[in-house]
Symmetry: D2
Subunit: 299 residues, 4 copies
């Protein structure tokens, strides 16, 4: 018999995730700061609550998917937050990408309240949220993960237990370092190819399959060449995640000069008003410096 | 009926490549600056010449595989070089990784001598050279490539025509930008994972299959965790190729700040006497700054 | 007739500054979180209060000199903070180096309480604090500055009005960008000189007076050559200020890649346990990478 | 009694330097690749030669001031070069900024020819060349320097003996590291000041005199604020010198990540067609990324 599930945060990601929970037949109570966004999932059969606290009061498993660390803090603490309504024995799963150290602080508060906390940041973009094909990196007690696994499986395809509380967030930050520095690699490579007069499609097919290959090159490379800037993941969200990465690296004393460089370059993209474009718009920061655009030479 | 094939340069790469040509049944004449290295292939049936010029005199297809731009210049120009012995209608294929602009100069000289020039840098490491599984990126006339294709197929698995003379070298440089910046990504990511107390194997398996994935992460990541520094490709060779990349980017006016950063970091690895280790020893430059080693925390 | 002056924060900087106020004949009330540090100034004639609020209750001009943004917030807000005791018409001057945007928030709170706020970060180090030769960069109303000028002149030699509230902090951050990137310049230059076998003293005297000159080169260069790491300003404090710089640049959307690089390099110095050394220990991050130490070659 | 002096290279720098030698009463023979440029100094009383070799044949002291390493090689070696005409006992002084290692090679050739070589790169710009106020950094034998000192004093104000042959060039490269990284510091600082809404003149006057001060800030800062891009030293020449710096650092194994970053940023300035502007146009690379121009906000 399944538990009553709560879901807080119905944005681009959370909306699709909550819908998949409802479609899988679970009894779901939702809340979103902007109330109008609840209609899409209540139309599918979810019931709406009046606050995060009320979601917690009505559920034994509470899922969160909001934007950033302060948002998770806001829906968790305070008189109308989750902790104010959390029953002993309940589990909170935070699918937002936030600070690992702040995650550990919130988990301790949940434990004091008699509940438990899993961090479960996701990757796979809004498309993955809609199709239920997300990757979910889960930190916390293995037994808690087993308990909530049926709900996670309604939303994601790959569920990885990464270790203790906070480790899911840390793995996600590691993931983001790879994503952006691989993106930098693809950007510099394509710009050199362009300036060197190469046939870009032939170049991609010559290098993608070997030691130079990456998901970013294979998937965002063709988008760059086609100058298609539709986002899988936006520049603005990427920068928000990089702030978390840089903050964690600072706390841990780890030098990450490549990531720090990308953060500065993305800022140039944002300043040109392109923060809502896809993360591969990174190349525009370099194009601008070079006075050359990938894919625009006559061939 | 096959042509007489010459091969100049029997180092780590060239030795295996020439051996594969002989094993495939072609009539091969070889020359190497250090004469003792010729024994391995003459034992297989190749004949030894006394100079690069003599190789050219005896062959209608001359393959080169030496270290760097000045080495190719040395075996091509001068009284004992290939051009001094090249018959009209012969083809030179340079498998070394060298400067694209110098390649175009040498190709013009070969044309003046009545021959033609293909640049055919390879990737796949010494293992690929031995097994005949190299990727070969070929710049030059398509008809010349068709003529030499049987010999290239004895040495490589993937033969890509990249465009006019010099384009093979340029694609190779693009490849190297990707290789080293993806390596930087893997290094920073693993260091953050280590300092963040993550289970490294679990982290790799959580991120390698998704948007963060790359050949470098999948193949060199486990080597780093195991602290196995045996080279597929050495730090010293990587730096030599990066000098070509930086030189080409300077000629073309393209800013590649990420690649420039890696070049500075690899220098720190070389200064510690680790230039003969694999390219993944890049992580040691960062480890040293962090005072943390990937894979050495008690777990 | 002078006003009653309060002083909160008697650390390395604040201790000397408060002592100079007392010596100048002003009536001073002090408070410090660690009470034992108050003795040095009460011995000179200051009176001790039991809280920041009590300082505010007893004074019409309240000076603050603590470490970082959260420390200023802590002594300003809350039941025992300055604002709880501030009389209408009083002026607060914050000599700490903190966030410009947080400064503006606190200034608005002070105004709501009927008082006013000046930000007055200082430069000149602990020596300047003791000798009363600090430079003080003051943001806020010119009339408020005129009112407190006699007290600032007891502590500093150069008092500059920089503009509205927050501008003093912003000028200080600009100052810190210059300080650290000039320090990077001196570090790379001296390392190149060392590796190039130059006579370091002769090199310094050849370049310091011309277009290459800077305060850092002239003052910290000889210290580096002598391997004298005593701090004017420590690495740890420098990093704390750089965090403020990076945060402000992020808020303002300004790319500062050089400063971002220095921040990563200083981290390597901190990781080696050298955070209490002087800011010129930056060179050690590069020395370590180079395997060469400035000033240690036999000459 | 003074010797016969030859001068090779009458460009922006050499033209003024040779004129000062003539005006000081020395007997001067000149040669310049573009013959028309010789008129200005022959009008003053110098005599023109037909080649660098002829200059050497007619002089016992031969001064060179050309653009780059290959230019010095071109006027030194070959059938019409200095060495072909150099009498035993003659001294060559190279005032160009070129490679230290190539300098040592040329000095050895001069010695074989029975002469000697001093490297004497200058700083002070075209204005210093005209006014005779250059700084000259001289590497080589002290006795050779004493012999040529009267001629150097006709051209420069500060003559520093830096050590053995090549050390003058190395000190010049150290100088250039300082110049460009201090320029980066000034650029990032002014951009932060601009974006932070500061009064730029007040900011400069608050920080220039203290620990943040540098020649670049004091002299180029006001030019940047006034958007006056007239060169003391052009971006293109700066890049040419940085190539020498990066090459020397590579040979010596020294990581100079800050200088490497500036080199990438200057490239962006060159790509925008601004290579003939002053070195302080570096700020434009960052302005472009930031979408903000220093000194253009309404104030």
């Amino acid at each position: 018999m399944s538990e009553k599930v709560g879901f807080i945060g119905l944005g681009i990601m959370g909306g699709g995730m909550a819908a998949n929970l409802v479609r899988a037949g679970f009894e779901v109570t939702v809340w979103n700061r902007t109330a109008s966004r609840m209609a899409a999932v209540t139309d599918l059969g979810a019931s709406a609550a009046g606050s995060a606290r009320e979601v917690a009061e009505r559920s034994s498993v509470v899922l969160i998917c909001v934007s950033d660390t302060p948002d998770v803090v806001a829906v968790t603490e305070g008189p109308d937050g989750i902790l104010a309504g959390l029953a002993a024995g309940s589990v909170v799963v935070d699918h937002s990408t936030i600070s690992p150290s702040e995650t550990r602080r919130l988990a301790a508060l949940a434990e004091e309240a008699g509940g438990s906390w899993l961090d479960g940041p996701v990757s796979g973009g809004s498309e993955g949220a809609e199709l239920g094909t997300l990757s979910i990196m889960v930190g916390g007690e293995a037994s808690d993960l087993e308990r909530v696994r049926p709900y996670l499986e309604a939303m994601g395809k790959t569920i990885t237990h990464t270790g203790p509380v906070g480790s899911g967030q840390m793995v996600k930050l590691v993931n983001q370092v790879l994503v952006v520095v691989n993106m930098l690699a693809a950007s510099e490579a394509l710009l050199l190819a362009e300036a060197g007069g190469l046939d870009l499609d032939a170049t991609l097919s010559a290098v993608t399959g070997g030691a130079a290959g990456s998901w970013m090159l294979a998937n965002r490379g063709p988008q760059i060449i086609a100058r298609d800037w539709r986002p899988g993941f936006t520049v603005d969200l990427q920068q928000k995640d990089l702030r978390l990465v840089l903050e964690a690296a600072d706390e841990l004393g780890v030098p990450i000069p490549g990531t720090a460089l990308v953060f500065q370059l993305y800022r140039a993209v944002q300043r040109r008003g392109l923060g809502a474009e896809g993360q591969h718009a990174l190349v525009k920061a370099l194009e601008h410096m070079a006075g050359v655009k990938v894919g625009e030479a006559p061939r």
